[in-house]
Amino acid sequence: MDFNHTEDRRMISDSLRRYLAEQYDNEYRNKIAYEAPYHDASKWAELAELGILGALVSEADGGFGGDGFDISVVFEELGRGLCAEPMLANLMALRLYAAFGQSERVDGIIGGSERAALAVWETDAFSTLDDIAMTGGDKLSGRKTVVYGGNSADHLLVVARTAAGKFGLYEVAAADTETLSYAMIDGGGAAEIVLDNTSAKLISDDAADAINAALDAGRLALCAEAVGIMDMLRDTVKDYLMQRQQFGRPIAMFQALQHRLVDFSIEIEQARSIVILASSKLDAKDRALHIARAKNLIGRAGKLVAEEAIQMHGGIGMTWEYAPSHYAKRLTMLDAQLGDTEDQLRTVMELEHA
């Protein structure tokens, strides 16, 4: 066994960490994250130049990474830097374009000149593909809800049912849709995508397996992002407890607080471990089970860490001014993306008893 990352992965992780630390302080991040268009095209171009998008796709498909560990290394750093760019959306889109040999799109996204988003969920339908109601064809109608990165996408990959009862994957030009963009409460953009007899290009008429694989890659990315955020929060809480004086001493001296910091640090190590395990399983037969387990644990650990980080900071942890509150919000809300703790539990129980 070897728990060290390869030289290449360490390099990409280091350069991404340095880039975000230098270019993406909290004030600037919040401006981008909460003001239309909820992302920064120049930052996106620079991230592409750093090779961040290429790292998410295999060499065979036009990138230079694409393994579970490539994804987790990148997203851990995006978490640590609280990056609000639409990386999750483009990760899932890249995986799908690659799966269906759409090399032009893959190259466009890797190079930073195009962006895409996966429009899959509908109102009351955001757990499994079976929930989806939209029907496919040359023209699509209906609404896709909370489409991450839909605010900044050129192309939308829309999931809809085919006449043959399969799940089809369609491409729609964002310009042809009614795209209602908004900020998410933890920053970054999403959109409601309204289709009304909108022209669509069929990419695959049987895409369920590829869509589920792309969603799992997205779930893994969210888990890794959470680990980066949790590391950051643990460090900030520790520093704050040592620095904040009450009752004539640093509050770090109160054992009630010490033990809670220890407890959540243990959960962070558990979280890191399950993300490592899940990263190693992204291309395995039992991928779905491992990803769901990881996201369930991450959801529980994330809630604990986010709530404790706010609480142990006292009032200051409740303020917009102070970066850790934004980390705590992101950590809380990423649980809601692509199926939350409870939803992953449903998946795990189904798969284990199948």
């Binding site: 969920w121 079976d130 909370v146 409460i185 009752f247 009630a256 917009w320 001014e321 809601a336 939350d340």
Partner: protein, 392 residues
């Protein structure tokens, strides 16, 4: 033992319910249900409606314009108010300063200040906390130095809730640096428009604006504005902490929030079925419901006189806030990704990503993290209980 309310209490409940039915403006009820912010006018309007029956200042005696209710009546009122989706009363004037003046104020202070609280002339805010004095409130540094018939105040207060609406602020200030820190603190009333006071907003994590920093530079305040004796401020502050215990557990709030949560769970679907039929989610809802049922009795039991003062209010505060926060957490989770949009006007108005009454659920969850921090954090409440357990 008899867990039933008396016929008189039931009659009182019916009276409160009818009053709320007849007098609560629909617009305010909608704001409460949807978790929206109140304007100053909203709150003033609601206070005035309650005061038509002398119901605004629930703890005040009749001779001072209160209803003269006992603890059970206040509990019933709070429950009915919550169930009707009526706003809470902003506590700083009626719930905090009022009782302090009734106990420590001069006759003149009572005669001039109390009526202005009731008729809405004065909006009060609370100036206790400072940047360096949160949990360790006794270390506060804002200085008041006697100068003839005045005090001159210098320093800074922070976390001042709804200070942006306030006409007046009651402050704990340092009047002596001799002896123990607790012994040099005074309680003083300050007009917010006095020269030398500057208020700056603090934005909270969910994006809302309800707290402020207040800076004092050579602020001249008449010595007659002192409440109680000089250096008696700590005694007054401690009196207030254990005075009003009915509302501290938030049983009314939780009861109403749980009703909303259960109705939301019926509306939303998970994997093709109503969330209300999903055992994984509903087991969590049901456990909170069980906790709340016990809390209701704990609250009534302790109000009826069991247990020591400090421990009682500390226990009610801890368990009550844990339950409220757990319900907020579930109300957010119920929505899945529909909880994600930042509740801007667009999102609340046109987009309808989540049902309107739930569109603020994530923001409310984040905002209510404050419940376990303010009013003496839950850690400090545990320290109080610990002290009484081992040394009481």
């Amino acid at each position: 033992m008899d867990l039933n309310f008396t016929p008189e209490e039931e009659a009182f409940r019916a009276e409160v319910r009818q009053f709320l039915k007849d007098n609560l403006p629909e617009e305010l009820a909608t704001k409460v249900r949807n978790g929206l912010e109140f304007t100053k006018q909203d709150i003033e309007q609601w206070h005035a409606i309650l005061q038509t029956r002398n119901w605004l200042a629930a703890t005040w005696p009749v001779e001072h314009g209160g209803p003269g209710w006992n603890a059970t009546q206040r509990h019933i009122f709070d429950e009915e108010r919550s169930l009707a989706n009526a706003p809470t009363v902003v506590p700083f004037g009626v719930g905090m300063l009022g009782p302090v003046l009734l106990k420590f104020g001069t006759e003149e202070q009572k005669a001039t200040i109390l009526p202005r609280i009731l008729d809405g002339t004065d909006w009060w805010c609370q100036g206790y906390s400072e940047p360096g004095a949160g949990s360790d409130l006794a270390s506060l540094k804002t200085r008041a130095i006697r100068d003839g018939d005045d005090y001159i105040i210098n320093g800074q207060k922070t976390w001042t809730t709804l200070g942006q609406h306030a006409d007046k602020i009651f402050c704990l200030v340092r009047t002596s640096t001799e002896g123990k820190p607790q012994e040099g603190i005074s309680f003083i009333l300050v007009d917010i428009n006095t020269p030398g006071i500057e208020m700056r907003p603090i934005r909270l994590l969910e994006g809302g604006y309800e707290v402020n920093e207040v800076f004092f530079t050579d602020v001249r305040v008449p010595a007659a504005n002192l409440v109680g004796e000089e250096n008696q401020g700590w005694t007054i502050a401690k009196y207030l902490l254990t005075h009003e215990r009915t509302g501290i557990a938030g049983v009314g709030y939780s009861t109403q929030a749980l009703i909303e949560l259960k109705s939301l769970a019926k509306k939303l679907k998970r994997r093709g079925k109503p969330l209300a039929e999903d055992p994984i989610f509903m087991s969590k809802v049901t456990e909170v419901e069980i906790d709340l049922e016990a809390m209701r009795i704990t609250n009534l039991r302790m109000l009826s006189g069991g247990g020591a003062m400090g421990t009682v209010s500390s226990m009610l505060k801890i368990k009550g806030t844990v339950i409220r926060q757990a319900i907020n957490d579930l109300a957010r989770r119920a929505l899945g990704p529909a909880a994600c949009p930042f509740p801007s006007e667009d999102v609340l108005g046109n987009l309808a990503v989540a049902p309107p009454e739930a569109a603020n659920n994530a923001a409310s969850y984040f905002n209510n993290r404050k419940l376990s921090i303010f009013g003496g954090s839950n850690e400090i409440q545990r320290n109080i209980i610990t002290k009484e357990l081992f040394m009481g």
